[in-house]
Amino acid sequence: MFENAQKDILTIGVGGAAGDGVKKAGIKIADFLRGRGYEVYVSFEYPSLIRGGHNFTRLSFSKNRIWCDHSKLDILIASNEESVGLHRSELKEGAKIITDMPLPKISENPEIIFSDIENMSKMPFDTKTELIDGNTAFAKGLQAAGLDFYLAYPMTPATSILHYLASKQTPEGLKVIQPENEISVINMALGMAYAGKRAAVGTATGGFALMQEAFSFAGMAELPLVVAVAQRQAPATGVPTRSSQSDLRFVIHAGHGEFPRIVISPGDSEESFRAGADALNLAWKFQVPVIVLLDKILSEHLMTSVLDENSISIERNENIIFPGTPEKIVKVTSYEHDENGFTTDKPEDIKKAVERRFEKMGKIEEEMQNIETVKILGDKESENVVVFFGSTKCPVLEASKYFDKPAKLVQIVWLEPFDAEKVKKELENKRVICIEGNHNGQLASLIREKTGIEIKDKILKYNSMPFDPMELAEKINSLWS
């Protein structure tokens, strides 16, 4: 059945009005395929409204590893005429259009292996893998590392973390709270950390903008905190249901003043899971705020993944004292303070306090040696290098299947602290292309700042849409031709 396919990959689009079940149908098909041993990647495109409007779910699947969906369709399933019109130009030669309505009746097509859609849920499924989005994977990572509280104010594309964890609450275990606004969210989390509970908060970048003062407070008071920041097309309200990588600079510099923080930027669902667990453990180990930078694509798109919960341990910090301990007084303050937590404005105390907070940078950098903060993928010996961060990993890896020349793929996972030595070693004197979902080439500028290497070839996308792997491959091939 793969004669018409692009190599061994088939792509299905499901289009219809919001409320038609476009997303649900896509997920059902995808999970059916996953259960049959296929690798699947599912993307969702929808406007910011509840009913009506055009929704589109697209999934690419293959017997081999698949990193990203493709834009050319082998099958289009449409619940209305509009969807056929909108996606006709994306059909491959000989592609099938299924327009039986409503959607569950798409079962008539004899050529498709998922013909019995009504009975899919009853079929024996492969349980080793799961079809999971970055937000849910991140949330599971937090849970695996012993999360006590999750707090959030709803904001796309971070909201599904809130929904998922809210559904996982237990009387004695995890609690989820939705306070009055993002400012309350983060300050409440700081009160929890002070009293000894592991808290995480999540929001889109606009919500994180509201949290800046308290983020700085976490740095000042050395209160452990995890913040999931899901980027969407900005500035301001921007395009709520679309993606962007334009907040790299914002998060690495977040909060006023100077204080240590960690910024982890996972690239796929499995890495999001790991990032959630690492973030919580690192926040408590080093008493620093930790940001996990997500984006709409990573947050919402589904991919076949294996999450290894046994690989996660809960690392506690026995040195922290909490209120409620007899004979101990625990003082925390947003003012500059001495070691006992009393306010100070003496220059010598201030200097000491700043240095005390930055002392832990050395320890964090030591810890980095045990973590893959920069990943080297592809052909490790190649002179051709592609560098990227975050969800751009997926289209880059998918595109790399179609590169004319072998290439080394360098993924920056930790944006702060930044392993300048390693990045320099991997990029120096190579033909480097930097790929980012923003206008200013923020990663390229960060690399220049940290390593002195100027990357001239950049592929930047800032129209809010994901990179298409075939388009990306074509551009990269032409830059290297």
Binding site: D148, I183, A195, I329
Partner: protein
């Protein structure tokens, strides 16, 4: 066990500032509550916002959390959720919790979080050297309102009553015993307690003479379980009489109880 609630930190409030009276009243309230075994000293946490009032945490030899300006209330709720054994008191100012963080005040009253808010009510921004705030009367002349404030003030007690507070009281900083007693009643109350402490600012808005003539304590027969009566009483014409005492004190499930159900 003898409690030592003082610290070595030099008090930097203006000489004669009623904040010192609030500090003394609180120390006395705590000493008695601990000796009566109503609270454990290690479980007591004093939160503070930013403003003149906020210096109080440095003067208390107990657990403390000095938040950002206006943000003590969510931090208090967070700590209470994290460890319901803690006794959470929060010192705040009218600028702190009726301007900057008013959303948190209203919402914590709504959710009936088991925390205690003591407002140092001086009706002016003092630490920033005197500007009108949410409780300054209309016509109040300050550095930021040289021709007089053009806004009506909030009635903070009415505000929290309508938001769902389950304990609402007012006291006068100059009355040590009255303030101590109200603080103790607030701490004993299960649920959201709001105490407005009239604290004249000697430097930027000296209302001592004004209040001395107008304050009076509610009689012992005042019903504290009737929202309508409480709302009427807290609206008693301010320029005639200013009642002090507990206006409202009812029992309702707290946010933390509901959370752990």
């Amino acid at each position: 066990m003898e409690l030592n609630l003082g610290t070595k930190i030099k008090i930097t409030w203006c000489p004669g500032c009623p904040n010192s009276q609030i500090l003394v009243a609180f120390r006395r309230a705590v000493t008695e509550l601990v000796s009566e075994e109503k609270i454990k000293i290690e479980n007591l946490v004093a939160f503070a916002g930013i403003g003149c009032h906020g210096k109080i945490s440095d003067y208390l030899n107990i657990n403390s959390f000095t938040s950002l300006h206006g943000r003590l209330i969510p931090a208090m709720t967070g700590a209470k959720c994290a460890n319901p054994e803690l006794t959470i008191v929060g010192f705040s100012g009218d600028g702190d919790s009726l301007d900057e963080g008013v959303e948190h005040l209203i919402h914590s009253a709504k959710r009936n979080s088991d925390i205690n808010i003591f407002i140092h009510d001086n009706r002016v921004f003092a630490l920033t050297t005197g500007q009108a705030d949410a409780l300054s009367p209309k016509g109040f002349k300050s550095k930021s309102t040289p021709f007089g404030s053009i806004e009506e003030p909030f009635n903070p007690l009415l505000l929290v009553l309508s938001a769902g507070a389950t304990f609402v009281a007012r006291t006068y900083a100059g009355d040590f015993d009255g303030t101590k007693r109200i603080m103790q009643e607030a701490v004993k109350h299960k649920g959201f307690s709001f105490v407005d402490i009239i604290q004249p600012c000697l430097t930027f808005f000296d209302t001592r003479d004004y209040f001395k003539e107008k304050i009076y304590w509610l009689g012992e027969d005042f019903p504290t379980n009737d929202l309508k009566v409480a709302m009427e009483k807290v609206q008693e014409k301010n320029n005639e009489k200013v009642p002090l005492g507990i206006f409202y004190n009812i029992d309702k499930p707290t946010f933390e109880e509901e959370l752990y159900k």
